[in-house]
Symmetry: C2
Subunit: 213 residues, 2 copies
């Protein structure tokens, strides 16, 4: 709908339609602060039998939310990150996503992984109000990525898993390489970067961004 | 000397000399963790009358060092950064250089500035073993920059103050835009980025880097 309105405006102005204005969906770039994903079992261990995650803020991807519940992460040198946000709904594995700055502060050596690919990664101790849970693996730096609807993938000319670039403008601008496209009919066009990446370029709501192959 | 050796090797291989191998000096990219610069007066206020900074580790730029002395930075919400490294020798102004990740953790709103340009920036309280010093301004995020000898500037074809790009490779590679060239006969070729930038791309000693206009 909005696409047609935009097209109409450009036609009235007598100018060629810029390719970005022809994109089926607007581009959102969001910074993911450190967070974790938990199984339902883990939630009950940490928050008590029968507990469930409570939505605190709905995220841009359909059905995803930041939970009211947070936990404490205890790293290998007994250093701690408090108030680590949990994202819901529950998954079938436990995963902690940190920025390298967080990992260095905690004394972790964490690998760069695509979310969900946690085999052989470092573990950690999690602490909730009702108990502790030691995870044997799952602490990663999540690789930057693009969520795309198939219509977005078609517009940008990329296949699932293919990498893209994001140019971020402003006085400390940069271009991020190697961002895999994750394509699903349930996805809305959104780039996820972490706080190191967001702070490196001081990403603000009005910072211009351009997604390319 | 080394340049001639490299040239000879390429000639023997019968290949054209790549332009980077013809550069007069090797490219170093170093990550500056948060630190501060102090006046001699500030050193005496914080560490005691007659105190001086003691070199702990010499840096790549001639005469610059990380001092043994560190201080505590107290931010506006009484949050603290301990063991803030002081770089020597003393300057004629006090300046604290933080990454945005640090500034957000402390509750500062700090501007991006070229080192030395601190007018109108936020102040902070500094604490040393012998006293406190409140600075009225000087807390910045230092803009990424390139130190260059005039021979480097000539090779890369840039004038003082002109901006350059740095492409950093690897699995979370990126290209940093807008890096001003600081040219001086006393400088050795070196790019300075901060921890947000270094961690965004996981810069390691063997990460390939390419400097271009």
């Amino acid at each position: 709908m909005e696409f047609h309105v935009r097209q109409a405006v450009y036609q009235r102005l007598g100018r060629a339609l810029p390719s970005v204005a022809m994109a089926p969906n607007p581009l959102l770039v969001n910074v993911s602060a450190r967070h974790c994903h938990l199984t339902q079992d883990a939630v009950e261990t940490l928050f008590g039998k029968g507990s469930a995650l409570t939505p605190f803020k709905w995220l841009y991807q359909e059905g995803q939310f930041a939970a009211k519940e947070t936990l404490t992460l205890i790293g290998p040198r007994s250093r701690v990150i408090s108030n680590l946000r949990i994202l819901g709904p529950c998954r079938n594995f436990n995963q902690v996503e940190l920025a390298y700055t967080d990992a260095i502060a905690l004394g972790f050596d964490i690998p760069l992984r695509i979310s969900g690919d946690i085999k052989g990664t470092a573990g950690a101790m999690l602490m909730g109000p009702s108990g502790f849970l030691e995870i044997q693996e799952g602490v990663i730096r999540a690789m930057r990525h693009v969520h795309m609807h198939p219509s977005d993938a078609q517009f940008y000319g990329v296949k699932p898993g293919q990498t893209m670039k994001l140019r971020i403008g402003g006085p400390c601008g940069l271009t991020l390489d190697g961002m895999p496209a994750r394509v699903d009919a349930a996805f809305k066009l959104e780039v996820h970067i972490d706080t190191d990446e967001g702070n490196a370029c001081n990403l603000q709501p009005d910072t211009p961004c351009e997604l390319t192959k």
